[in-house]
């Protein structure tokens, strides 16, 4: 536990900066109110007032914690006001998008490695796809899937999520499948191995460490994709919708709570992926 002290120090520093920022940013409103009412405010009053606003510019940490607590534990998990409910909606889209992204990424990588034509025709588009801002693309995907008669909001969200998450998997898998050295390929040639045998016995196992490393990036991208998919055109469920409602209806604390719920969800997902990666590394005989 040698790391505890430095970690706690950083957390404490962040909290201090955060509180100072909340005080600084929220003070203007308090001063303004006081000026209108022709009152003088002392420092103690000013400080208290900046920490307890209903609509702060920057919510203070304890306000966020309270809102988060209320969102998670304060309601039935089936309630529309429960962050657990909205979290599950987002999680579902994230996992579908993640799975779809992996399938597309791995599939394209296998095709790219085995065919020069595919490499030259697909790879540039894959790169270009990631330069298009997803916030511009997301509403189109939602509208188009609606026009195609897909009622379930899950489908466009999963597609947006996969749109972001396939790319890191694709890039890593192409590197991974190409990682065997000449010597390894020559060795299999001396055995008279077929292309399929080279793939299953050498290329695929060689690529697994690359694959698992890319999953960490992909799961985070999936979550962002799912949340972005919840922002446009009237979604009412999911953490993204919660953020939007919070900011549009003047309830910043709801927005902050949803933001932190999303961060916690991301942290949890990355922990799970890391655990899977560790288990796979051990299984593959990699020393740790």
């Amino acid at each position: 536990m040698r790391n505890t002290l430095p970690v706690l120090t950083v957390v404490a520093a962040i909290l201090v900066i955060w509180y100072l920022a909340a005080f600084w940013m929220n003070a203007a409103w308090v001063m303004d109110q006081a000026a209108r009412a022709d009152r003088e405010v002392g420092f103690a009053d000013l400080f208290t007032a900046t920490m307890t606003q209903d609509r702060p510019v920057v919510a203070a940490p304890h306000q966020v914690v309270t809102a988060l607590w209320d969102g998670v534990f304060g309601h039935e998990i089936t309630s529309k006001r429960s962050l657990v409910y909205h979290g599950f909606i987002t999680l579902e889209a994230t996992l579908w998008g993640f799975a779809l992204g992996i399938a597309v990424g791995v599939g394209l990588a296998v095709a790219i490695v085995h065919s020069r034509t595919v490499n030259m025709s697909v790879m540039p588009w894959a790169v270009i796809s990631q330069t298009v801002p997803i916030v511009a693309l997301a509403p189109m995907i939602v509208v188009v899937s609606n026009a195609l008669g897909v009622e379930d909001r899950l489908v466009p969200k999963a597609i947006i999520s996969a749109y972001l998450s396939f790319f890191p998997v694709l890039v890593s898998m192409v590197s991974g499948l190409r990682s065997p050295q000449h010597m390894q390929l020559d060795l299999l040639k001396t055995y008279g191995a077929t292309r399929a045998q080279v793939f299953w016995k050498l290329r695929l196992p060689s690529s697994l460490p690359y694959f698992f490393a890319s999953l960490k990036v992909a799961i985070a991208a999936s979550l962002i994709g799912a949340i972005v998919g919840e922002l446009p055109t009237g979604a009412i469920n999911g953490l993204g919708a919660r953020m939007l409602i919070g900011s549009q209806f003047g309830q910043p604390l709801i927005m902050w709570a949803a933001l932190f719920a999303a961060a916690i969800l991301a942290g949890g997902l990355i922990l799970i992926v890391t655990a899977i990666q560790r288990a796979a590394d051990r299984r593959m005989g990699v020393m740790r």
Binding site: K189, T190, Y191, G192, G285, V286
Partner: protein, 261 residues
């Protein structure tokens, strides 16, 4: 060329086209390797010794001349799995155990499960690695890893063993030990071995014939039949016969280098 000729090269040439023009990796190389021979190829880097070995293995294609392995083309011999190839690096799969690595060629060649197991046990015994079957490569020393890679090359019972500086990356003590073991293994299995090295003592100690090569263009400058007996304890390296052969190899290497630098 006799009926016992395993590898026969006639006027073999290989020219690589590079950005700076063509490189004559091999020029007019003619050599017969007889069954049961232990032939070493020695020479400075760039003399084509590894290229020659790779041509035998059908990993490179000659631009001139002919080569036959077991009486057929190098490609046909490769498809017949006529040889086992040992590279400079052990190149074991880190995700497979030692047994799993030896199993690799057997899986590819479609041996039955029971026979795979039987062969793995036999060749690991042969290279003194019995009991290490379940270990992963990183748990073994460099010398042990290279022995495992030799076991992998032996597993499918090819009559020819092509070895490309297999002990080049190991320290001298380990190398001595492995040389001794390799000789015993050669005696027991009666294989034909082609062995690339840049160490004079190693070449003289191991070989029945030593092929001295020189660079630019890569060619054979001398072929030395070793007068040493088949039984070779390590201290044979201090005998006058040994030193005489070593001297002749050194002379051959020097002659090949003479007009170059």
């Amino acid at each position: 060329m006799t009926t016992d000729t395993v590898i026969s090269a006639r006027d073999l040439s290989l020219t690589f086209q590079t950005g700076d023009g063509s490189v004559h990796a091999l020029q007019d190389v003619t050599l017969d390797v007889e069954k049961g021979d232990f032939v070493s190829f020695i020479g400075p880097s760039g003399c084509g010794k590894t290229t020659f070995l790779r041509v035998m293995a059908d990993l490179e294609h000659p631009t001139g001349g002919t080569i036959t392995v077991n009486g057929v083309s190098a490609e046909a011999a490769r498809r017949d799995r006529a040889y086992g190839y040992v590279f400079q690096a052990a190149g074991l799969y880190p995700w497979r155990t030692i047994g799993g690595n030896v199993r690799l060629p057997l899986e590819i060649m479609g041996f039955g499960k029971a026979e795979q197991n039987e062969r793995i046990a036999r060749v690991l015994e042969l290279v003194d690695l019995a009991g290490f079957e379940k270990k992963f490569p990183w748990q073994l020393s460099g010398g042990m890893q290279q022995r495992a890679s030799i076991a992998r090359a032996l597993a499918f019972d090819a009559d020819i063993l092509l070895m490309d500086e297999p002990f080049g990356a190991l320290d001298e003590i380990v190398r001595d030990h492995l040389n001794e073991q390799l000789l015993k293994l050669w005696e027991r299995t009666e294989k034909t071995i082609c062995f690339v090295t840049h160490s004079i003592p190693e070449a003289v100690y191991l070989s029945t014939r030593i092929v001295v090569m020189s660079p630019r263009p890569g060619r054979i400058t001398d072929v030395i039949e070793s007068p040493l007996p088949k039984e070779r304890p390590l201290d044979i390296r201090d005998t006058p016969e040994f030193l005489e052969v070593a001297h002749r190899v050194r002379e051959g290497l020097r002659a090949g280098h003479g007009y170059d630098d």
